[in-house]
Symmetry: C2
Subunit: 353 residues, 2 copies
Amino acid sequence: MREITADRLDDMARGAGILGTGGGGDPYAGKLLAREAIRKHGPVPLVAIDEVPADATVVAISGMGAPTVLLEKLPAGTEELAALRALEATLGRPATHIVPIEIGGVNSMIPIAAAAQAGLPIVDGDAMGRAFPEAQMVLPTLIGVSNTPMAVADDKGNTLVLNAVSNLWAERLARAACVQMGCQVSCADTVMRGDQLRDGLVPATLTLAEDLGRAVREARTRHADPVAAATEVLSGVELFRGKVVDVERRTTGGFARGQARLEGTGVLELSFQNEHLLARLDGEIVATTPDLICVLDTDSGEPVTTEAMRYGLRVTVIGVPCDPRWTSPGGLALAGPRYFGYDCDYQPLPMSS
Amino acid sequence: MREITADRLDDMARGAGILGTGGGGDPYAGKLLAREAIRKHGPVPLVAIDEVPADATVVAISGMGAPTVLLEKLPAGTEELAALRALEATLGRPATHIVPIEIGGVNSMIPIAAAAQAGLPIVDGDAMGRAFPEAQMVLPTLIGVSNTPMAVADDKGNTLVLNAVSNLWAERLARAACVQMGCQVSCADTVMRGDQLRDGLVPATLTLAEDLGRAVREARTRHADPVAAATEVLSGVELFRGKVVDVERRTTGGFARGQARLEGTGVLELSFQNEHLLARLDGEIVATTPDLICVLDTDSGEPVTTEAMRYGLRVTVIGVPCDPRWTSPGGLALAGPRYFGYDCDYQPLPMSS
């Protein structure tokens, strides 16, 4: 057992930004919330999956919304605890552990803030090993764990508790409420026992995020290539270096959707729904969801979120293999390219090295 | 105390259809649900407001959705009890009485079905004295009673429980969920104690609906004017007789909205959002919400709902004064013409008699 202290958040947030594959929301605002909560309530114990008692009540805490909205409408900081308390009232018992639903982006930080506020330990892992745009796209869905009861809370004081017949229905209903609530809410859901975590989580991803963020920072300090450092930590592959020449983006149905066009040696096209989902190099597919398509600032190695993509940015795109459970038939049905409406099958990364 | 038996539902549903002022949903499907529930579980005790103990837990049961959808997508018959049970679980105590949230249309029948299924008495009254399209448009809002916790259940087995910061927020969030759920759900909400009913309800409206439905039927039997009979029971005023010549209708945002044009001695234009809200005769306003604008088939005296309005129907439009609490400043702010976007003030009916 270790502790998450305020001084560890910078590296962790940087790594989580990279693992967010362009989505998951800029972790900056989340980092401020987590830092404030740790200053007020003390460090958050970080426990490995196998340290969690079998009968523990583990609750996933996350933000839901469009990253484009998060840029302008900051959380009140009360949402995550309100969601947790509403869920506990429904469960009739308190949570014993908090866990991130996704490691990518702001959703690495919001559960840390919640854990600090609630005085609970956080589990080192998450339910995706990346960021995905929809609530049912979690490993617990693959093992039959319901994501409801799900509590949703907004900055105004509204809460709702869902009980849905499927994890997809929970996504539909929570998303509709989220849009009404201003596209920026917190959720408490996907209650698991400790003995479900091995199958329901990707292990040690908070540690991975921190290692990744540290590697980028240290490479910069010693004037090495920060992107290469990130690629090495992630066992990824560099797909493209170039310049952003066009971004088409719209916030619709509670998501930031769009396309980006990069020029370098050839033309790379990225398609995203909050997260990058497809990369085409000169028209040929080079990476698809559920593998991670990460866009980094070429000079600094900092993650570039889809909402921050703009003309002129020099970026490097790396591909990182997803957790192998995502490329099972069930995993691909849940988060493969065809689910998102792309007329292509999943294609493994070109792992030349 | 009396009982609602299956043979009383026809008159009650007819009267409720008239009191629905074009909205509230065609009570036909609701009547079938109530009849089936009474056959299965027995008659429903009907209690007057002053028979309800002061510490009773009175729960309003209703359907939410667009009447145009109800025509094609019938309820499963499980929604109202699912909503009630979800609300009771949140309250931590069982309901002792059921009450209609609105007397108009299908929402007179759904609480009867729920009361039969739950084995509870129903209170003779409702929270509007008519039908209104939005959930916050109830007398309890005027006396500071929250409509949440509110439970919403659909035909698929999804439920959600809302806790909102205002009755308007509950409407916004429940409506968004309702649209996702297929525009046809049941709600359990607006929990009141027995001693709040005098201020929170319009009394004896189930009895009024039955008296009204019976008067229309009996007038028909004795070849008298059924519309005149209805007008007399309601102390209303006949505004127009004519033929429907045009209907513009769209189902949008969870509502059936539109306009109808009637020709007779002059031209009457009706504007509706589920319910009729404004009547203009040759361009001059003759009736506005919150007064009741009821459209009846001229020959039969049967209510004509907004979704059933069509070219060629011979109809009579009558105006009925609303409960006086609706014409207070607070009542008009909640359900007056300006709330609905009409650029006019409330105007009392021309009560020539």
